[in-house]
Amino acid sequence: MSVQVSPVSATSSKLPFERQQLEDIGFMTCMTLTLLGNYAQTGHFGGPVAYTPFNVVTHLAGPELGGLRYDYRRPKHPYCDKFMLAAGHCAPTCYALWMIMGEALYRKYEATGDRRYYVAPDVAMLPVDALGFRRGAGALKTLLADVGLADHPLFAQTRGRGIRALSGHIESTDVTNDVNGGPSGVGIATAAGKAAFWDMAGAEIGSPKIIAFEGEFAMCEGHAQELKTQAIALQVGKRLRIFFSDNNAGIDDALIGGVINRKFEGYRLIDQWTSYGWNVFSIPDGHDYDQIVGVLKAMEEWDPNDRRPMIVFGKTTKGYWPGAVNGKVGAGDQVVGYASHPYAMKMNSEYFIALAQTFEERYGVEFSGIRQGPVSDPRERLIQFKTNIDVAMSVLDRNGLGEWLADRLVEIGDRVKDNVPLRIDVKRDPFLDERLRVANLPEEPQTLTVKNSVSGAEKQVKIALFRKAGEVAGARRGVSEIVKWLNYVTENRALTLAADLSESVNLFCWLQTRAGRYIKGVRAP
């Protein structure tokens, strides 16, 4: 199988996207997430920064270029594209970006009163929520009051909404994210099913789409391995697009040259996906905005009849920094690889200052107090934390960046459709049908006519929810009958998910009532 190598930057730069704005938001995101780690003194660093350019482009390129179609004002809209930060510990890249987005919309709404920019306080993520990084909701209720800061103007955004708790690994309740990214690989393992669901519902192949992020170590895990076969078996096609952050860096070791001896040259990551039949793309620099836009566009324009799921390998650097030059941050060496995995820099330490200084020099701002050593007083820490978050946010005032971002978010959000033609009736919950109540279950065997909603073919199905005393039939044989009845009433809304264990556990019903595409190796209608 060939690997699609994304067009080189020279070609991609012809694409119509606002590169400077994306790069600036990318740098803001990196700086903001670093501030989270600096003042919380916990979390992760190298992974979140490595994902940031792809994260920014995914959220802001726009649907025509293969970016997400979503609405920040209604992030859980059912018909928006699904974003999965399966590498859940990299949550800070998302938290930071969402804060920047939330702040841009907040400022525009405050300035204009235009409802198009309004985001409900419990929906938006705002800069003040930085204080909630890795804190529990209970502690946040009195965080400011405990140190006499409840009425301080710096924290005015908490009024009426408090501070949002931002957990250490991302959750499906977080703005555009649609996965609980927990132990390695468990989030990405659900990506194929998420895509298959929309096939079943009858949505057109490209919309909604699923864009998921994950890295090489998590992809070693068992459930992530199952994804490779699942996605091919379910024929999810271009609906599923995975970004594989290929930086060869885990927590305590490298993958190739570390866990895997380099002498095993046959251990090639891309081959591990082409050999499963995936449609594999590759970009040499996973931090280059041109290349990222180019590959997203290539995936977007791919033939919808090609039912291979998609994955793009992007070479990234764990510990990437926009202001780094030739492996240096300021005068010192850049911290990269697995050493950058945890946020291990002491508060306001030398390397943090070096990172911050590149941001200061790029944007002409100055952080407060970071050169006076760590802050031990809780009150002063919160003040310095929020002050410096606001310094990072001040870049929104440069060159109309905030205005551009707010308008961009509204433009993307207005593209989310409230009505999408589907095969299923979304106005009725079929599981509330009275025929499913225990009292209404038929005692006598039934012979029913069922119809394949895809092919239109009809057939007769026998269902026996009860049998006469003395007949030889174990309880397991009743399982197929309940599922047949369930699917008869709900018009096939119950599925089995197993490699090959449907008939051997007596789920014969699927052969008779299935819609034809979603079970056991998927047969086209």
Partner: protein, 267 residues
Amino acid sequence: MYLPARVWSQQNQDSKFRTGVLHILAGHSGPETAADARTHFGIFAPQVWKLFPRGQVINLSFWDYNDVAPGYFAAAEIAAREKKVGIIIIEVARPDFPVADRSKFADTDLRAASKGLYVIRDFAPGKPRHGYVVAQGSSSTFNLVKVLPRLEQAGINVKVISAISEELFDHQPEAYRNSVLPPEAYQDLMFVSSGTRRMWPLRNVGSLTDAYSLTSDWDHQWLTGGLEADVIAEAHLDADSIFAGVQRFAQERPRRLEQQRAALDAL
């Protein structure tokens, strides 16, 4: 499999929207699966599905064909209306037993399984009571039902209850629950179960439950394989073992109640 289900359960709890209901089918559970060799010994693994916050999953353990539809659809009725129920677990074993003759049960209702626990045999009136025997699982319940005439002939007067689902039972009116298992019954109770003594089918059972209950892990060893009959005999869930176990439970009632009273008196 547990890990993704756990993550799913957390998502379901926090979601502002109704989500679907994950079903786990433990289709070859119970000691019977050791007929495929001990690597398939399915007595501890199905109990993993109880490791969720109470009320967020419904566990169903079916022994008879006619339990499946009422038990499952009772669970589905709840899950379709109570958002917090995100997972339904269906546990069944492989053997094909004859469908039970419920006309011989104390509760003849064909849909009795929908109530979670139902009475197979009530105490014979006018005779000393010997305690409560709660059965769960396929071979265990089938073989217990098989020896009921023998137990009666031996003068043993126990109340025999089928435990399909503690969660469904929790949803029943208090009057029904007390009619099946009054509060004091939990101190006078043994299990005959194809599960293990590491996790009982019901909570808050008495301190001597372990001393009398019959489970596959009776000697705290992994059992071997063989034909189903071999495996069930090794698990001490064959008819003769169950008869002996219930008889001992019945005959030692005065001593075990005295033991529990003495323990309380010592406090």
